[in-house]
Every structure is written in C-alpha cells, then in structure tokens.
C-alpha cells in the first residue's frame, strides 16, 4: 500500500498540469498515423530535460498510456492502426465507424482501454516481484515457441479461407526477412535500394490497411453520393457502459491475455491485442460477427493492449531490463536524470518510482474522460464525404510513413504493399494475418538462431528447444491451437455444406 502515500505528488499543480498535458498530447500523438507510442515517448524526452526527474516521468508515463489508447482513434476512424497493438481494433472498429457508429466504437475502445489499463497498473503495483521472475523465465527457446504459437493463430485470424489465411501469413513472414539479416548481417531479398533497410512495421501497417481502403473508395466512383446518408444516433455514455457490462467475457479475456502476454520481454506488446482478439472470438458464440463491427472485438483488443502497459514495465522497473521498445525509451529518459531502475529506484528514489506509477493510474482515468468527451466530435471525421476521406487518408499515409524514419524508401514500400494488398484482398487474402507474419517472423527467427548458438555450447538443439516444463507447456499449446484451427475449419466447412444442401 506504499503507493497510496505518494498520491499527493500527482496532484501538485505543476505535476497535475503535466499529467493533463501528457495525456492530451499523448492522445493526439497516438492518433497521428505513423507515430507509434515508442516514437511519441522519444519525442517528449527533450522536454523532460527542463523538468525534475519526477515531473519528467509523470509526463512520459501519461504520454505512454494515452498514446497506446490514442492509436485506436486512427485505427477506428481511418483504418490506419497507430501501432501493431491497434491492428485488431481496426478490424471491427473501422467497420463500426463505417456503419455510422464511430462514437460507439470510440466509447467502447476508451472504456475498455481504461479498465484494462487500470488493472494492468494495479498488477504492476501489487505483483511486481512475482512478475519479475515470470519475465525472466522466458529464454530464447520459450520466446521461439511463443512466436510459433502466434503463427498458429494466423490461419484463423480475420480470414474466410483457412488456406488463404495461412498463405497471407507466409507472405508476411517472407516480407519480414527482406533486408539485412539481424543476426549475421547477410543481405536477403534486396531487389532494390529502398528495401535495403528491410520493411519497417509502421509504414507497412499504414500501407496494408489504409491504401486498400482508399482504393475501395475510388472504386465507388464519382457519382455515388449515398455516402452521407447514414443518420447517426446519438451515443450516450450510459449506453456504452451498459454495453460494456454485457460483454464482460471479452473484457476479461482481453485484460487477462494482455497482462500475461505483456510481461514477456520482446514479444508481448505487439501481439497482445491480436491474440486477445483471436481468443475472444474462439470463446464467443457470435464468431461470424467478428470483423463486421462487433463490439466484442474492440473490447478484447483495446483492453488487452492497455492492460499490457503496466506489466510491460515490470522488467524495466525491477531489473533495469527494457522489455519493449517503449520501455527502452523510458529507460533512456530515466538515465538522463541519473536514476537507474532496479532496486536503487524503489529504495533511494521511492517518490520518483511511485509518483510515476500513480501518474499512470490517474493518467488512465484522465485518458478515458478526455477520450469520451471528444469521441462524438472525433467520430464526425469518419463521416466526411468519401472523396475528402480518400484524399486525406492518402496524404496522411504519405506523411505518416515518411516521418517514421524520414526515409522515402519507407514511403515507396508503403504504397507498393498497399496496392498489392488491395488486389490480394479482392481474392480472399487478408491484411491481419499478413501483418502478424511480418511481426512474428523476426521474433521466431532471431530467437531460433540465438537459441541454436547457445544449444551448441550445451546439450544440442533438441534438448534446448524440446525439454523443460515451460517448453513442453508451450509446445502443447501450439498443438492444441493447431488442432483447434483444423477442427473449427472442418466444422465450418460442414456447416456451409449443409446450408448449401438445404438451399438447393
């Protein structure tokens, strides 16, 4: 309960103003296409030079929590996921916004973000020592199996055809290998200079999701004026809250998966949302509604990716090991002020540590309030006339993908992938499994390579990858997941056949 005694620090006038500024700024930065939470936090670090360590951390903590939630705004309204965490949100959120329910989607997204986020931070407060051990337990072989477990989700994720889902995943895995190989530095599949740096995930996300959608709008042609016809019912906060209570299953699946996966260094943050989304669908009676604007999809994805924020900081705060890119940036921000995370932080600078954690707690709540307050207004963006929307998303895609690394190569990759994806989608391939392949490829490969090297110095790869409780547990999960996919695929096939027979 030590954290309670430091709550005062958060409510000092300067600190609270910073918290407010960090939250609002974070939402705007998060909603900007091309700006991931990592970059947003890195951009704010120079501001902390002029602040005391505590104040600086309040700003960074608030910004971190709200950029993750802010990414949902562009995912829902523009179908441009701000970061890998928001991919799953885009699937159902954008479908909802297109039906004129943008405000409802935003309400659900912010409320479930807030709930997931608060629970995540509470876990960080109460279970840090336990969680730290858990984070360290994951070695290369386990991370490899985790990535493979993620790959098994590919076939069932947002795709009507099992084969094409897997094939989309393979294309993603291949794309992830383009460029310099991370372990040995060899060049692979570099056909042109723009590819030498590999395919960066953020421009790829922008291209794969935003560009096909722009082309879809082009396809409607210039005489179709039916776009602004949808009358939007006013979404009241009470209704959204009631809706959330009706979807406790999705909310708890999201929160549990988000916080468990979030702790695992190097894997967690990117896939938490997608895995939770997939699980929520497997447990849901309305499987077929996912992807068409189903509230459960948004709730699971958003509660997962904010629940991850708190636990993902455990390895950083206790062991000084950054478990995610954003945690690495926060570490930089701490070191600049001469504060080293680890036991030193909690023993010698408790006011810094606890004020930081408390600010994330209050930040979550401020984020929900501010997000809900602007949702109705922001949702109008999704109802802009089609030609404006198409042109605006196109220009945003250019600026967003350029600003990631200030590289024209990224911009060219973004558009090429986007145009390719449009045609692939026309034939039943989908972007979500492709992106999952793109994210998991490097994780699987580098952990496999590093693990193999270590195993050569020990008892060989078979022992290293296949023995040990955690390995066996993960392998069992992999098999279970594959078996489930085949089974549900077969059941689905039978059901379709039955329906066709009944119809004929």
């Amino acid at each position: 309960m030590e954290f309670l005694s430091y709550f005062g620090g958060v409510f000092e006038p300067t600190a609270f103003l910073l918290l407010l500024g960090g939250t609002i700024g974070g939402l705007i930065l998060g909603a900007t296409p091309g700006l991931s939470p990592t970059m947003a936090v890195a951009l704010l670090i120079p501001f902390t030079f002029h602040l005391s360590p505590t104040q600086g951390l309040i700003l960074l903590g608030a910004a971190y929590t709200s950029t993750v939630a802010g990414g949902a705004v562009s995912a829902i309204l523009l179908k441009i996921p701000g970061a890998p965490a928001n991919i799953a949100t885009a699937l159902d959120g954008n479908a909802m916004a297109k039906n004129g329910e943008g405000a409802r989607a935003l309400h659900l997204s912010f409320l479930s973000s807030g709930i997931g986020g608060v629970i995540g931070v509470l876990l960080l407060i109460f279970l840090t020592p336990v969680l730290a051990q858990w984070a360290l337990a994951f070695s290369y072989s386990h991370l490899f199996w985790m990535a493979i477990l993620g790959v098994t989700v590919i076939g069932s994720l947002d795709s009507k055809s099992f084969v094409k889902g897997l094939l989309s995943g393979c294309i993603g895995l291949w794309l992830s290998m383009i460029g310099f190989d991370d372990n040995l530095g060899a060049q692979r599949f570099i056909f042109t200079d723009a590819l030498a740096g590999g395919i960066h995930i953020i421009p790829a996300l922008i291209g794969l999701f935003a560009i096909p959608q722009v082309m879809e709008m082009f396809a409607k042609g210039r005489n179709n004026a039916a776009i602004e016809a949808i009358e939007v019912p006013k979404q009241s906060l009470m209704d959204s809250m009631k809706e959330l209570t009706r979807n406790v299953r999705a909310l708890s699946i999201g929160t549990i998966f988000g916080s468990i996966i979030g702790i695992i260094p190097g894997v967690g943050g990117q896939i938490a949302g997608l895995v939770a989304y997939d699980q929520a669908r497997k447990f849901s009676p309305d499987k077929d509604k996912f992807g068409t604007g189903h509230p459960e999809g948004i709730i699971a994805a958003e509660s997962a990716n904010n629940a991850m924020v708190g636990p993902s900081l455990v390895p950083l705060l206790t062991l000084s090991i950054p478990g995610s890119p954003t945690a690495a940036v926060l570490l930089g921000g701490l070191i600049i002020h001469g504060i080293f995370p680890g036991s030193d932080l909690f023993d010698n600078h408790p006011q810094v540590a606890w004020t930081f954690i408390n600010s994330m707690l209050i930040g979550q709540i401020l984020m929900v309030i501010f997000g809900i307050y602007t949702a109705t207004w922001a949702a109008r963006i999704a109802r802009a006339p089609m030609p404006i929307m198409a042109a605006a998303v196109m220009v945003l895609a250019l600026f967003g993908s350029y600003s990631v690394q200030q590289s024209m190569g990224d911009v060219y990759i973004m558009l090429s992938l986007g145009i390719g994806m449009f045609f692939l989608e026309k034939f039943g391939f989908s972007a979500a499994p492709l992106v999952l392949g793109l994210i998991l490829g490097p994780i699987a490969e580098s952990n496999f390579t590093t693990g193999s090297l270590i195993s050569q110095a020990q008892d060989g790869p078979w022992v290293y990858f296949l023995t040990g409780t955690l390995n066996i547990f993960l392998i069992a999960l992999v098999f279970a997941s594959v078996a489930y996919s085949f089974w549900s695929n077969m059941m689905h096939g039978k059901a379709v056949k039955k329906m066709q027979e009944a119809a004929s």
Binding site: I28, T32, L43, K160, S161, V163, K164, L166, L167, C170, I171, L173, W174, M177, N183, L184, A186, R188, F189, V214, M215, M217, F218, A219, K220, G221, R222, N223, N224, A225, M386, P387, I388, A390, A391, A392, M394, V395, L396, L398, F399, Y402, S403, Q406, M408, V411, Y412, L415, I419, F423, L424, E425, K426, F427, G428, F429, G441, A444, F448, T449
Partner: protein
C-alpha cells in the same frame, strides 16, 4: 458475387510465382546460415501456394469478390494520381505543395458535384487549404518533421 474461375487462377498463379521465386532464391543464395530460416518458410510457402493454385484451377476457391470492369475503371484515375504523386513528384516538388495538388485532384475526380459548379470549386479549394493547414500544424510545427521540401515547399 464471387470472382470468376479465370480471375482466381490468375491471382493464385501470381502468388505461386512469387512463392517459387522466394523458394528459388532461398535455396540458391549464400551464406547458408543466413538462409536457413527463409528455406524453412519457403517450403511452407510453396506448398500452400500450390494447394491454393490447385483449388483455384479446380474452381473450389470461392472467397473474394474479384475485380469487375466498372470498379476498375473507377479506380484507375485515382490510382494513377496516387502513384505519380507518391513515387514521382512528392520528393522533387516538396511534400506540402504536391500533397495539396494531389488532394485537390483526387477530391475533384471523385466529387459528385458537376465541374461547372463554381461553388463546388470554392468548397474544394477551402477544404484543401484547411486540410493542408492542419497537416502543416501537426507535422511541421508540433512534431517538427523535416519533410523533403523539393524545389518549392
């Protein structure tokens, strides 16, 4: 409506070709260590691509709407503008000016209002200017991103 068997065959044929190319490169390039993982993936890739191709040829593939001529005719002008804008002029003319022009062209191409309508032109101009002003505030002033300024802006 689903795509025709021919369209599916062509599309899955292209994917098969890519898979074949990836497999070929993976197994012929050196150093072998660095291509171990690509080889593994490419085996799955090519098997799935062949399976997919077989399904398309035999007419089992039913997912996906395919392309139709009207849609494609609608897409083409926008697609050309987008490609020319991103690949050819954005860097050399400068992001802000070229974006404004591309925005205006796309908006005009797909705006249902007739070209003779003077008021519609005024609205297009105002929306373009406002949007670019927001972009400038966000990227240049707030985020301080140095975009290529090319010969103009």
């Amino acid at each position: 409506m689903t795509a025709s068997r021919l369209q599916h065959t062509v599309a899955s044929g292209v994917v098969l070709l890519v898979a074949a190319l990836v497999t070929y490169i993976s197994f012929t390039q050196q150093p072998a260590d660095a291509f171990l993982f690509p080889r593994l993936i490419s085996i799955f890739f090519i098997i799935l691509a062949v399976w997919n191709f077989a399904r398309a040829v035999s007419g089992v593939a039913k997912v996906g709407t395919g392309l139709n001529a009207t849609e494609f005719k609608n897409i083409l002008p926008g697609l050309i503008v987008m490609i020319v804008f991103v690949f050819l002029v954005a860097k050399s003319i400068g992001f802000y000016l070229s974006s404004a022009i591309a925005f205006m062209i796309i908006y005009t191409l797909y705006d249902p209002a007739p070209y003779s309508d003077g008021k519609a032109w005024g609205k297009r101009l105002i929306v373009t200017v406002c949007f670019m002003a927001v972009m400038y505030c966000l990227f240049a002033l707030l985020l301080k991103v140095q975009t290529p300024s090319g010969i103009l802006f």
